[in-house]
């Protein structure tokens, strides 16, 4: 199970990076980055998984005494929660800049933005 999600995560990262490298349209690049971002989250979550264990929430099913033997690693989950929120902020920023570029240049094709090219 953990290998499936690990492989899915790696493949998503590769798909996302391929899309970001080959597409010239800014919106498609933003979508590609989101896909790669999701892949990184999947890999992180998969690394924190321990076979045969359950979610890191203590209740009747997982008493405090047995917690250390019964739960998976909570740290990657906390990290991914942070990463998702920051990823959303980055996506929103990219969309805002893409909108602004479209408003000023009338195009989303990245090869047409030549101001910083030397």
């Amino acid at each position: 199970m953990v290998y499936v999600s690990l492989a899915t995560g790696f493949i998503l990262i590769l798909i996302g990076l391929y899309g970001a490298l080959t597409n010239r349209n800014l919106l498609r690049m933003i979508v590609s980055f989101s896909v790669a971002n999701t892949g990184v989250h999947t890999v992180l979550i998969a690394v924190g998984y321990l076979p045969g264990r359950t979610a890191p929430i203590l209740d009747a099913a997982v008493p405090v005494i047995e917690a250390a033997e019964r739960i998976i690693d909570p740290v990657p989950q906390a990290l991914v929660l942070t990463a998702i929120v920051i990823g959303l902020g980055v996506t929103a920023l990219m969309l805002a800049y893409a909108y602004k570029l479209f408003a000023t240049h009338g195009t989303l094709d990245i090869s047409r933005f030549t101001e910083l090219k030397w």
Partner: protein, 233 residues
């Protein structure tokens, strides 16, 4: 064409690295030291049943404050970048096709329920999966639904920023109170820990997470309102 080949070659290299990681990976059998500490001591230290919440709000509370700050900066920069020129005025609102009856009625029914679910998720963050960030995102999804129903709808930016800044200030104030009354900045033991597993337990965690929920919901809503308002310029 050459661009595509270069991309494939680069990604093939990265794929080899990933394949090496994948083949060499084997899941741990026991928790590492940090995770083991959290598993053994969370209940006694913080009183929170959800260990992920305890890590985010208490153990690594300062990081979460930084994260919320990053989100605030993002919302502020989005608002700055998308700031409308007041000279252009308000264009006509008539050129939008009316949305369907189903969406309109569904929105009226669902928005209060979604808000309720959001409040439930962030108040119960210390007991069940969920918390402030998730609840805030759910609350913002209600705002998104309203924007889908009526793209010309205008939200009060003053109200959104009031909610956002009040939540932020109280969050930091609770953190400073922890410095004065308990063990350190953002320590949740300024309130009694209560009975383990109850709604009113885990000290200040439900309060802090509710504030984070309001703040995150307000920030996401302001981002979406700003992005939506660009449509008519």
């Amino acid at each position: 064409m050459i661009r595509r080949v270069v991309a494939v070659v680069l990604l093939a290299g990265l794929g080899m690295v990933f394949a090496g990681l994948f083949v060499g990976y084997s899941p741990d059998a026991v928790l590492n030291l940090t995770a083991d500490y959290y598993a053994r001591n969370t209940a006694a230290d913080t009183g929170a049943a959800n260990i992920v919440t305890a890590i985010i709000v208490t153990y690594r509370g300062l990081d979460t404050l930084g994260e919320v700050t990053v989100l605030f900066l993002t919302a502020a920069v989005v608002a700055l970048v998308l700031r409308r020129d007041s000279s252009r005025g308000n264009p006509a609102a008539a050129d939008h096709r009316p949305v369907g009856e189903l969406l309109q009625t569904g929105t009226r029914l669902l928005v209060p329920l979604i808000m309720l679910a959001a409040a439930y998720v962030f108040i119960n963050g210390h007991l069940t999966p969920g918390g402030g960030f998730q609840g805030g995102a759910i609350a913002a999804s209600a705002v998104l639904l309203m924007l889908l129903t009526d793209p010309m709808r205008r939200f009060s930016h003053r109200l959104i920023s009031r909610v956002e800044s009040t939540a932020g200030v109280v969050y930091v104030a609770i953190g400073v109170l922890g410095l004065a009354l308990a063990g350190g900045f953002l320590d949740n033991r300024i309130l009694p820990l209560g009975a383990f597993g109850e709604l009113f337990s885990a000290g200040a965690i439900p309060v802090i997470y509710s504030l984070i929920g309001l703040k995150v919901g307000a920030e996401f809503s302001s981002m979406m309102a700003n992005l939506s308002e660009t449509e008519d310029t």
